[in-house]
Amino acid sequence: MATFVREVPLLHRTGLHLRAAGKFAELAARYQCEVRLGVAGKVVNGKSVLDILTLGAAPGVNLTISTDGPDAEEAVRALEALVRQNFGEG
């Protein structure tokens, strides 16, 4: 068990809006570990679309993804890839 932290730039054109936030929460929920998502010092539960929306993450900011728990390494890798691949929206 360990904590994994990754910092990823948010390149998505409109920022972390509904669809992107939803995809993130959906993917995060598939893992047992805890997932936290932070922007500029504010950190929320990464499995909650409601909380992610309140980050108001605009394009260009750095997202901090941190995971903690049994499958934390796998989770952080998958979530980082999701952000880097622009939430599958090109």
């Binding site: 509904l18 909380d51 929306l53 108001g56």
Partner: protein, 581 residues
């Protein structure tokens, strides 16, 4: 009997029993449960969650079938579904119920309020728009917590008139169009969500009515006149009979006129040709407008491409939409208007105090050049495949126009370089909707291929009136003498320069103004598709000579009311069956 005036946003007359839709949120006080009631309280909340989820599933399923033309509305439900499934929603409500013994209703409203607050403070325009979705969802959950059945109005088996303060987006789209006869709404304006959906579903609707919910109970008889913008509560027998006759005859007349005129060209009795086109928002509307007898698309409002997506549409999305329209149009022409959006659609990093005088429409080109470039490129590419022309909205000064034209030329050069085909003679025009453009029309006429007068904005900017503001809406009239003079200046400038001119505001589709417009000299009108047959009939009923005399007479008058009254009389002379009292 009580007569209320509002803004008619979707034409037609309907009479029926009211169903008043109340807001659920009103008056949720600090209410508590006993410690031993915590478990049942949470069970109640879970049931409400489950019921809301099931409703949303059913709604989006139903809409997929019945409203495929508005498929993007399903995004509303996507949001709701994701929030309902969010474990944090339940856990926070549970914490308040368990630790502070709040009732589920009170806990829910507290949790939702917290989220709305933090969305608002994020200062992002997109999130601000989503606040309404949160409100919408909260209403649904509260209703289910209270075991309410109001959602079922569309399924009651009986036809009803919906009366509400305001409708949530998910409510409006969920109405069954066979059951909802009409809508009367206290709040809202012409571009409100309700208005757009009502028009799409062809349900008569009046918005901005002011207080009616308290004056009316379920089952009361209501008349909604969406053409006249009137709602009549508890009509007396005479009024009722008059409107019954009107509702019946309107339907019969509309069908008759449509059958008779939709396929005929509009030509005055002395042979002056007037071309009648339609305004569209979606390419899918093209088939319908041709059935209505429109001779082309005089105004394609491309904003829907923008509203439908979370991010600005790219070149390909624009191109595909234009190609869909062009294919359906065949040989008929189409005029595409470049995105006409408010700054609120973009995060410019500041709030505008006066958006209508702010960085809207073409003025956004400096802040977001890429969005415009991609659209212009898509329009040019599409021009290789059909009779396409395009126009810039809200041009107010010549340098603005030149800046826009510079971008067109750059994009053309780019296409030339890449050997991509487009119509080299494509016509580029501007909307005349700011008084400065009308005043300077002679100068503009030397630099563009056509003008299209957008009467809605021209009236608003000339008279400084927001017609969605019920306190000043009475000042809004397209036939205010000042507006008519600006229109005449524009017309004369276009004639002198020999360029094409059309009118694409709502005025063009209002039969009250048809004789006047023909008489002033306009020969190209673009309107809501449902108005096409009526306008054609009116054009065919007058001679240009007579219409000219009417226009001259009207231009002598000094107030909008006087002109409206005069034109009502004139129009009644030509088609009495379509003009109310």
């Amino acid at each position: 009997m009580e007569i209320k005036r509002g803004i008619g946003v979707s034409p037609g007359v309907a009479i029926g029993a009211a169903v008043v839709i109340e807001r659920e949120g009103a008056g949720i006080g600090r209410t508590f449960v006993m410690p031993d009631e915590v478990e049942p309280e949470m069970e109640r909340f879970d049931e409400a969650l489950a019921r809301s989820r099931a409703e949303i599933e059913a709604l989006s399923e139903k809409l997929r079938k019945s409203l495929s033309d508005l498929e993007n509305i399903s995004d509303i439900f996507e949001m709701h579904r994701r929030i309902l499934d969010d474990p944090r929603l339940r856990s926070q409500v549970e914490a308040l119920v368990r630790n502070r013994h709040f009732t589920a209703e009170y806990a829910l409203s507290q949790v939702m309020r917290r989220y709305v607050k933090s969305l608002e403070s994020a200062g992002d325009s997109y999130l601000l728009q989503r606040v309404r979705d949160f409100d919408d969802l909260e209403q649904r959950l509260l209703r289910n917590l209270r075991g309410g059945q109001k959602e079922e109005i569309g399924h009651a088996g009986k036809q009803v008139v919906v009366v509400a303060h305001d409708l949530m987006p998910s409510q409006t789209v969920s109405f069954d169009r066979d059951r909802v006869l009409a809508m009367a709404i206290e709040a809202g304006g012409r571009t409100s969500h309700t208005a757009i959906i009502a028009r799409a579903l062809r349900i008569p609707a009046v918005v901005g009515v002011g207080e009616i919910c308290n004056a009316i109970s379920d089952g009361d008889r209501v008349i909604v006149d969406g053409t006249g913008g009137i709602v009549i509560l508890d009509p007396d027998d005479v009024t009722l009979r008059r409107y019954q006759a009107r509702a019946r005859s309107l339907q019969v007349i509309e069908e008759k006129i449509a059958a008779e005129f939709c396929n005929l060209p509009a030509v005055t009795r002395d042979g002056r040709r007037v071309s009648v086109e339609a305004n569209i928002e979606f390419p899918q509307e093209v088939a319908a407008i041709l059935q209505y007898g429109a001779e082309g698309v005089g105004l394609y409002r491309t904003e829907f491409l923008f509203h439908a997506a979370e991010r600005p549409p790219g070149e390909e999305e624009h191109f595909q939409a234009y190609m869909d329209a062009i294919r359906a149009l065949g040989d008929h022409p189409i005029t595409i208007r470049v995105l006409d959006l408010g700054a609120d659609k973009f995060d410019l990093g500041y709030q505008e105090r006066n958006p209508f005088l702010g960085c809207r429409s073409m003025r956004l080109m400096r802040a977001r050049p890429e969005i415009f470039r991609q659209q212009i490129k898509a329009i040019l590419r599409a021009s290789a495949f059909g009779r396409v022309r395009f126009m810039f909205p809200l041009i107010s000064t010549l340098p603005e126009l030149r800046e826009a034209m510079a971008m067109v030329n750059e994009v053309k050069a780019e296409l030339d370089g890449a050997r991509i085909r487009y119509d080299k003679d494509i016509r580029v025009g501007i909307m005349i909707e700011v008084p400065s453009a009308a005043i300077m029309a002679e100068t503009f006429a030397r630099e563009v291929d056509f003008f299209s007068i957008g009467t809605n904005d021209l009236v608003q900017y000339t008279l400084a009136v927001d017609r969605d503001n019920e306190h000043v809406a009475h000042l809004f009239s397209p036939v205010d003498p000042a507006v008519l003079r600006l229109m005449r200046m524009t017309l004369e400038a276009a004639q002198k320069a020999g360029i094409d001119l059309s009118i694409c505001g709502e005025m063009a589709g209002d039969i009250l103004y048809t004789v006047l417009l023909v008489g002033m000299g306009f020969q190209r009108l673009s309107m809501a598709p449902t108005a096409v047959a009526d306008v054609k009939k009116l054009v065919c009923s007058v001679s240009y000579e007579d219409a000219r005399r009417v226009a001259e007479e009207a231009m002598q008058m000094s107030s909008a009311t006087e002109i409206e009254e005069y034109l009502r009389g004139v129009t009644r002379r030509f088609i009495p069956e379509l003009v109310g009292d």
